[in-house]
């Protein structure tokens, strides 16, 4: 009997490992090294080379502690079973401690609506290109490389892990901010999430800026101009109109002052339905309560019925006996 129990436990553990060995549904966006983000995808002994081409585009020069934009374009994408494509922005391809943050970059936002260096995009069947953009705050003065990597599944049913990376990195020189350069304040952080159906007011903090103009657009749409009002010296506000459905909205600011005029990178804001959350432990405990209560109620009902029927049956017998 003990042996059978042991075999049962071992069988369950083996089944559990096969269920948990891979993440065919993805792992979700996060801050990951290339090795951690994909489990077997990042393991050179287990993965296969992706036929997709990965390129990273970044400005040659960025200013210390100011915002800049980097985009990763994946082309020749293969259609996969679930359409998931994982994209990493990395500081190197060593597989460990290779997030942009490890080189001093700060991820402010990405075009998928998050603030992480790894995103998972849903690729439609037949779609061969996809671009993900990141807004980063530059690290200290120096020269930095930015790489990109991807991983995905396949459609042939083998569930083989595919991995791909940029052939050459983008090199960014981070330099000191010139004196009097019109710029966004180093403390300014653009919003990344807004709610569908609500106007959004964005407050800008600037330095050495006399005039601000803001363009905004939905991805792929035409740019429009937002009305900007000055709140006080170095503080401005503009309003993005309410979206009627979840969409990515991009905006940028044109800054003018004593120094040469500047245009910020496009900042992405993910417009989404109001988030919904629940206290999960409460839900799980209630689920268990309903299970046990349903069993108990039904068994109790039938037990009570059984006893009353037997008593009635007994009474009938006594009555019959009495007549005799």
């Amino acid at each position: 009997m003990t042996r059978h129990r042991l075999l049962g436990v071992l069988a369950m553990l083996l089944l559990a490992s096969s269920q948990g060995a891979a993440n065919p549904s993805g792992v979700g966006a996060g801050t990951f090294d290339a090795q951690c983000g994909g489990a077997c995808h990042g393991d050179a002994d287990m993965n296969r080379s992706s036929p997709a081409t990965v390129t990273v585009e970044a400005p040659e020069v960025a200013y210390d502690a100011l915002l800049t934009s980097v985009s990763v374009t994946v082309s020749n994408i293969q259609t996969t079973t679930n359409g998931l494509l994982g994209v990493f922005l990395l500081s190197d391809l060593s597989g460990a401690e290779d997030t942009p943050a490890d080189d001093g970059w700060t991820v402010i936002s990405n075009s998928e609506g998050g603030v992480e260096n790894y995103v998972e995009a849903q690729i439609a069947p037949g779609q061969t290109n996809h671009t993900v953009s990141w807004t980063l705050r530059a690290p200290a003065v120096g020269t930095y490389n930015l790489h990109a990597a991807i991983h995905h599944g396949t459609q042939d049913g083998s569930e083989a892990p595919f991995f791909g990376a940029t052939a050459s990195p983008a090199t960014v020189s981070v330099v000191e901010v010139p004196e009097n350069l019109p710029r966004l304040s180093a403390t300014f952080t653009p919003p990344t999430q807004i709610t569908v159906g609500q106007d959004t007011e964005v407050n800008l903090q600037t330095e050495f800026v006399d005039v601000v103009a803001v363009d905004w657009r939905t991805v792929g749409g035409e740019a429009q101009t937002a009305s900007v009002r000055q709140l006080e010296d170095g503080s401005w506000a503009f309003t993005l109109p309410a979206s009627v459905q979840p969409v990515v909205i991009e905006w940028r600011a044109h800054l003018e002052g004593e120094g040469p005029p500047q245009t910020t990178p496009w900042f992405q804001i993910n417009s989404d339905d109001a988030s919904w959350s629940v206290d999960e432990p409460t839900a799980y405990v209630q689920s268990l309560a309903m299970l046990v209560a349903a069993t108990s109620l039904f068994v109790g009902l039938q037990h009570r019925r059984s006893q009353s029927s037997l008593k009635a049956y007994e009474a009938d017998l006594n009555e019959i006996g009495g007549e005799d």
Partner: protein
């Protein structure tokens, strides 16, 4: 390797199919036990089919749940439909387990008593109905529509109790089950 999504479809079809058969058999068993439509002679057959199909459906449920979790996007239960699905599935599981437990403890005599046969047939059919509603919620979640949408069920509303009340119910129900372990005495 077969993907979790495909396995989920297979295991769900097995579960729902088994429960649907159980539901039909419980209906027939209820009719037969009341000697309606001249079906008395089919009672044993309907009884066996109903309870075996229900047991098979219960055995298939964990596989459907595990593959469903593997196939679902994101992490955790972040949608009211998923919470309602979990609550309904748990209630259905508990009710179905109670129906099987009663049948196991009382044997075929459960069909001999007037209210016993009514509760047994009704309990089986309600459990099946809850499972079908659960499957309907799954359809609404993945495809945005399902056949039961015509009933306009309030899937978006989650009736949550305080955790202390859930805990109290678990304790009371468990004590009740333990006390009921003793068979009915004449």
């Amino acid at each position: 390797m077969v993907s979790a999504g495909t396995l989920h479809v297979v295991s769900t079809e097995m579960t729902v199919g088994a429960f649907a058969m159980a539901g039909a058999a419980f209906l027939l068993a209820g009719l037969a036990s009341h000697d309606l439509l001249g079906m008395r002679r089919h009672l044993t057959l309907a009884d066996n089919v109903a309870h075996f199909a229900l047991a098979f459906g219960l055995l298939s449920m964990p596989m459907a749940i595990m593959t469903g979790i593997q196939a679902s996007p994101g992490e955790g239960v972040d949608h009211p439909l998923l919470i309602n699905k979990m609550l309904l599935a748990s209630t259905a599981f508990g009710l179905a387990f109670g129906v099987l437990l009663t049948r196991w403890r009382q044997g075929s005599e459960v069909w001999l008593h007037e209210w016993g046969r009514r509760w047994q047939a009704l309990g089986g059919m309600v459990a099946v109905g809850l499972i079908l509603t659960t499957a309907s919620i799954g359809g609404t979640f993945t495809r945005g529509e399902s056949l039961l949408d015509m009933l306009h069920l309030p899937y978006e509303h989650v009736p949550l109790m305080p955790i202390w009340l859930s805990g109290f119910i678990i304790v009371v129900a468990t004590v009740n089950l333990v006390l009921l372990r003793r068979p009915a005495q004449v």
